[in-house]
Every structure is written in structure tokens, then in C-alpha cells.
Amino acid sequence: MSTTAQTPLLSVRGVETYYGKIVALRGVDVDVNRGEIVTLIGANGAGKSTLMMTICGSPQARTGSVIYDGTDITMMPTHEIMRLGIAQSPEGRRIFPRMTVLENLQMGAQLVAPEHFDDDLRKVYELFPRLKERAGQRGGTLSGGEQQMLAIARALMSRPKLLLLDEPSLGLAPLIVKQIFEAVKELNRTEGLTVFLVEQNAFHALKLAHRGYVMVNGNITMSGTGAELLKREEVRAAYLEGGRH
């Protein structure tokens, strides 16, 4: 940890991503250090999810590079990137609706040696006790909040070093959002899990994160610690005022 603390775990350098001819990211630089919670905030269509997906290799960056733990993953296929210890809770949760909670979690553990399964399962059940109650229930019958918990738990089952969360608060009641953010904080504190969080819910995300980035129109316009960004006038005006949190 101490020897590698200087180099970031994930380093995004000058990444430009296109959807056909439409440019979505215009040279983005983002660093995520080990043990950090880093958040990326921005308005709808700013390119937050695109950056998340570019890190995962779908779509791939046209220029620039994505370096994870010393490996250039820019042009790797998604499933191979995920095998390096990155786990993702994708936008819209995307749990498997006809499979049970337990089976969903099993899918998350697909890449991990089977002997870890019971331990890991116990851990995620401790983190989200609701999932234990619902273990035999089909994923599609869970409430939105439970589905989000399941999506995160499923990602955790792959024993990631870096957890990517894409809008975990989307469409959830404030209380549930709080629970989920608490769980993320807990994971970060106890396990040292590195988290990269994409959020529209700027207030909560900045309060949770060590550092944050603000994205506008495919560019990073501001960065700093969570507390700094919360105080910045531009951030308050654009993302926090008007009852947005």
C-alpha cells in the first residue's frame, strides 16, 4: 500500500469518446487513488455515465488512455477489464429480474474461487440485511432500493479493488439513499475499498466523497475535495440550489 500509494489506482488521461460522430467526452483527466471515494457530478447529458462506460471499455475511448493498476485497459474488452478487479453497479441497476437474489449474487461471484463464496455472502448480507431476508425471492420483485442494494452487493461479490457506482441514488427515497451511501462509506472505511461514484445527487455525493470532479459538456471543469466543492459558489448555483438535494 505504502509503496504504491503515489500512483493512482485508476488514471484516466485525455480520454475522448464518441458516439458515431457525436463527441461525448472531450479529453477527460480523472485520477482515483487507492482507498479513496471519488465522485463525479454533473448535469444530465454531461457525459458522466459515458466516462464510467469508457472505463469499462464499452464504448472504447478514441484517444487518450485508461490505466488501471499499471495496466492499460483502454482497448480491452469489457469482460476482461472486469476480471482485473473492477466491479460495476451499472446505471439502472440491471439486476437479473427472473433470477433469485442468491443467484444474482452467485453471478457476481462468477470470477472468484468458490471457497470464498460463503464468506463473501455473509459479508454482503451483513452490509445489506434486507438481501438476506429476500435471498430466495426473484430479483424483479424487489423494491427499487433493494434492487440497488442487490446491484452493489452483486458487484462486491467479485472481490473488487475498485468499485464503480453509476447513480446509485436514482429514483430512490432519501432514506434509502442514505442507507446505501452509509454502506459505501462503511466499505471504504473498513475494507479500504476504492470507490468511483457517478452521481446527480451532488450534495450527498460530495459529502460522502474524499474528492470530487464536476463535469460539464464532456469536460472536467472543476475538481477538489468534497468539502471544497460543496463550498464553491458555481457548484452551489448549478447543482445544489433550488431544492436539488
Partner: protein, 459 residues
């Protein structure tokens, strides 16, 4: 009474129902007048008009009565009788994990003794019945094979018959060109070749899903058939391949006289031996298909198939190689299709491209969909009903009295399939057996149950 009638929706009143039925009857009268009441026949010197008032009036009466009954009991009532049907259906659905297991065991036990059951109880029709059982079993096997692709992996394949054809032709060509290759040697080869063709189909369609995938697989099925039809030198074209050897029992042929199966075991020769043997071959193949599928479902690859059906993007984000997952589904499904194909070839002794039309694909797919995507027992029930049921209609005497002496129910197979589809889609949109049994259950289920009860939380 008046209090009740104020609560009743005016739409539901008796008068409204009668009015509606009268209107329908009137329309039938008008529309049917030229088709039913009048009939022109060729007569000397031109056409003669004969009237059929009886037919016309009965048609009107049937429409009136039918419409009225539907109005009163289904459409315009607060308690439609069909609601009972629907809830009965869903009741079966929820009780199914246990019922399905139980039903599966009973069907399996019956299938084991089936040929002897027919020999003992229906000696006059034993050959016909065993033949029918073989046919049903073939479709069960095909249904199970396709279930891997469509039911588990969620890849809609309209050209499954192509692999059936590849299997059949592989065996036919191998066994007619090389004498030393018998059924049991050719069977794995045919399966491998079919799996290989599954991969060949799989590669170009990897990026496709849903409708697009369905169209390409449909085209693939047709390409295989057209190639078989036109590659005259190799496949015999429309003449097909005949003289395909029958399977042997450890080298014993099912023939009369010295060295035959009956002679070796000191039995009296009977043609039924071969049918019983064929039945057990396809039974064994089908059971292997089922066991392999059930086993795979619990392994990572099978779980990946199901996850792929649910959400492809989520699969990739969990590190699943979707390319390989799709290809294995296509290849394994195709392999079982190939096994069934070589069985078909040896049973018939003759194959031609005519046996591998799109209609076959449609029937197999219909069986899988009607049975409930991904359900193994559903495929069995659907095969028995759709294949066996229709064959059985042939034997029912009164049908030909109603529909005329030339009535052949198998001609109406597609019509009945269609009707069954519509009914199933209305009442059980996810197929007969729509519950999906989880492939993983809590290992400590009982322990938790006991804890819960001890704390007074169990129910």
C-alpha cells in the same frame, strides 16, 4: 331488486346482452345470406340456385346463442367464469415446484415401462403406439435441445431444424459411404458436426439479438435445406438418401433368422423388438439431454446463459464473456439437435430435405414456447399434447362423422397449434409451466428456518 339493479353497470344488463346478440345474429344473417343460404350448382343449361335455409338459420342461431352466452357469462358480467380458469392456472403455477418434480417422476417411470405397457394392454395397436411414443420422444429431445438456446440463453432460434438436418445427413452419409460406421459410431460424430455448424451460425450472429437474430437463424435453416436440395452429387438432392442402416444391439441386427437379436436371445422373431429398441435409444438420448441441461444450469456456464437472457450488459459488467457464452449455447443446443437428427435418420432409413422444412422448426419452437421457456417438464407436456394429441385425434371416430369421411386431423396441425398458442398466450402468457426453479438454494435453509421459528419469526 331495485337496489341491486342500480348497482349494476347498464352495460351488463340482460337487455343489453340480448341486443348485442341480436345484432350479431343479424350481421351473420346478412353476411351469410350469399354464402350459406344460396348455393349455385352447375346444371344443364347454366347454373341452378339451390337454397339452404336450414343451414343459414342454424348459423344465425349458433351465433345468437354463442354471443348471448359469452355476454352473460364472460364479457358483460362482474364474475366471468373464465376468471376461475385463470386463477386455477396460476394456482398450478405457484404449487408447481413440488408438483413439477412429482409429475416429472411419474412421467419418467411411465416412460421407462411404456413399450411393455403398450405390448401388454394394446397388443393390437402396439406398433402404432410405440411408433407414436418414439415420435413424441424425438420432439421432447428436440424441444429440450432448443430449450438451451431459446429458453435458457434467450436466443430466439428459428432455424433449429438445420442442426437436426445436419445430424441426419451426417449419419446418413457416413454410414452409407463407410460400411464400418454404424449408428453408435456415427452418433457422436453427427453431434460434433452439428455443434460445429452451431458455432458457424453462432459467429456471424453474435452481435444480433431478438428480431434480427430470429431472421438470420431462419435464413440459416433455409440455407441448409436449400443446399441439401441442390447439392445433388453429395446429398442426392430431392431424392434424398435411402438405405440408411438400422441401429444394432451390440452388433446384433434386428432381423429374422441366424445371428439376429431374437435368435441370439432365443426369442421368437417379432418386428416389435426393433421398435422397442428404437424407443429406448431415443429415450436414453432424451434423458441424457435433460440431465446434461439440468447439470449445466447449475454450473457457471448455465448460470451465464440465464443471466445472458436476462441482461447482456449486466453480464459483461460481471466479467462474463458473452461471446463464448452464446457460442456454447448454440453449439450445445445444436449438438443435441444433431443427435436427434441421426436418430431420425436411422429410424426412417430414408431422409430427404423435405423432412427439414421451416415447419419443423416452428413446431419445435412452439413446443418450447407453449411448455414455458426454460421449463423441462413443460416441453414434455407440450410435446405429448401437441404431437400425441393430434395423432390421437385421427383415431376418434366421431370427428369424421362431423367433418366428413376425408377428415385428417394432422392436416389441421398448424391450425390447432395456432389455436393452442392463442389460448396459452391469453391465459398463461409465459407458457404452461412458467415458474422457474432457482438453480441455487440456500444451503443453510433448514437452520435459518429453525432459528426463525425459535425467535417466533417463522411463518
Amino acid at each position: 331488486m331495485s337496489a341491486v339493479s342500480t348497482n349494476v353497470n347498464p352495460e351488463n344488463s340482460f337487455q343489453a346482452s340480448i341486443k348485442d346478440a341480436l345484432l350479431a345474429a343479424f350481421l351473420t344473417g346478412v353476411l351469410g345470406f350469399y354464402f350459406l343460404a344460396l348455393r349455385t350448382d352447375i346444371a344443364p343449361g347454366g347454373l341452378a340456385i339451390t337454397t339452404r335455409w336450414g343451414l343459414w338459420l342454424s348459423a344465425i342461431a349458433i351465433v345468437f346463442a354463442g354471443r348471448l352466452l359469452l355476454n352473460l357469462f364472460v364479457w358483460r358480467t362482474d364474475k366471468p367464469i373464465t376468471r376461475g380458469l385463470a386463477s386455477a392456472g396460476s394456482g398450478v403455477g405457484t404449487a408447481l415446484p413440488d408438483l413439477g418434480k412429482w409429475l416429472g417422476r411419474v412421467l419418467f417411470a411411465f416412460a421407462v415401462v411404456l413399450p411393455f405397457f403398450f405390448i401388454i394392454f394394446f397388443p393390437a395397436q402396439q406398433r402404432q403406439y410405440i411408433d407414436l411414443a418414439i415420435l413424441i420422444m424425438t420432439y421432447i429431445m428436440l424441444g429440450w435441445g432448443l430449450n438451451i438456446v431459446v429458453g435458457l440463453a434467450g436466443l430466439l432460434d428459428l432455424g433449429y431444424v438445420a442442426f437436426y438436418a445436419v445430424g441426419a445427413y451426417s449419419f446418413a452419409l457416413l454410414s452409407t459411404h463407410f460400411e464400418f460406421i454404424g449408428f453408435w459410431t456415427a452418433l457422436p460424430l453427427a453431434g460434433l458436426l452439428a455443434a460445429f455448424w452451431g458455432l458457424i451460425l453462432g459467429f456471424p450472429v453474435l452481435r444480433l439479438r431478438g428480431d434480427y437474430l430470429a431472421i438470420v437463424t431462419l435464413a440459416f435453416g433455409e440455407i441448409i435445406r436449400v443446399v441439401l436440395l441442390n447439392w445433388y452429387e453429395f446429398t442426392g438432392g430431392p431424392n434424398g438418401i435411402s438405405g440408411i442402416p438400422k441401429p444394432t444391439f451390440f452388433g446384433l441386427e434386428f432381423s429374422r433368422g441366424e445371428g439376429g437379436f431374437a435368435d441370439f436371445f432365443g426369442l421368437e422373431f417379432s418386428t416389435i423388438h426393433r421398435f422397442v429398441y428404437l424407443y429406448y435409444i431415443i429415450f436414453l438420448l432424451a434423458i441424457i439431454t435433460n440431465i446434461v441441461t439440468m447439470r449445466l444450469r447449475r454450473l457457471p456456464v448455465g448460470r451465464a446463459w440465464e443471466a445472458l437472457r436476462e441482461d447482456e450488459i449486466a453480464c459483461r459488467s460481471l466479467g462474463i464473456n458473452t461471446t463464448n457464452t452464446k457460442l456454447t449455447a448454440f453449439a450445445i443446443g445444436a449438438m443435441f439437435g444433431g443427435f436427434a437428427g441421426s436418430f431420425f435418420a436411422t429410424r426412417q432409413g430414408f431422409i430427404s430435405p423435405e423432412s427439414f422444412t421451416f415447419l419443423e422448426s416452428a413446431i419445435i419452437l412452439a413446443i418450447v414456447v407453449l411448455g414455458g421457456l426454460g421449463s423441462q417438464i413443460g416441453v414434455v407436456i407440450a410435446s405429448i399434447v401437441m404431437i400425441g394429441g393430434i395423432e390421437m385425434l385421427r383415431n376418434i371416430g366421431f370427428l369424421s362423422q362431423i367433418f366428413g369421411p376425408g377428415f385428417d386431423p394432422t392436416q389441421y396441425r398448424m391450425l390447432i397449434f395456432g389455436l393452442a398458442m392463442v389460448l396459452i398466450m391469453v391465459w398463461k402468457p409465459r407458457g404452461l409451466v412458467s415458474t422457474r426453479e432457482p438453480s441455487a438454494v440456500l444451503k443453510e435453509k433448514k437452520k435459518i428456518g429453525a432459528d426463525m421459528v425459535a425467535q417466533g419469526e417463522g411463518h
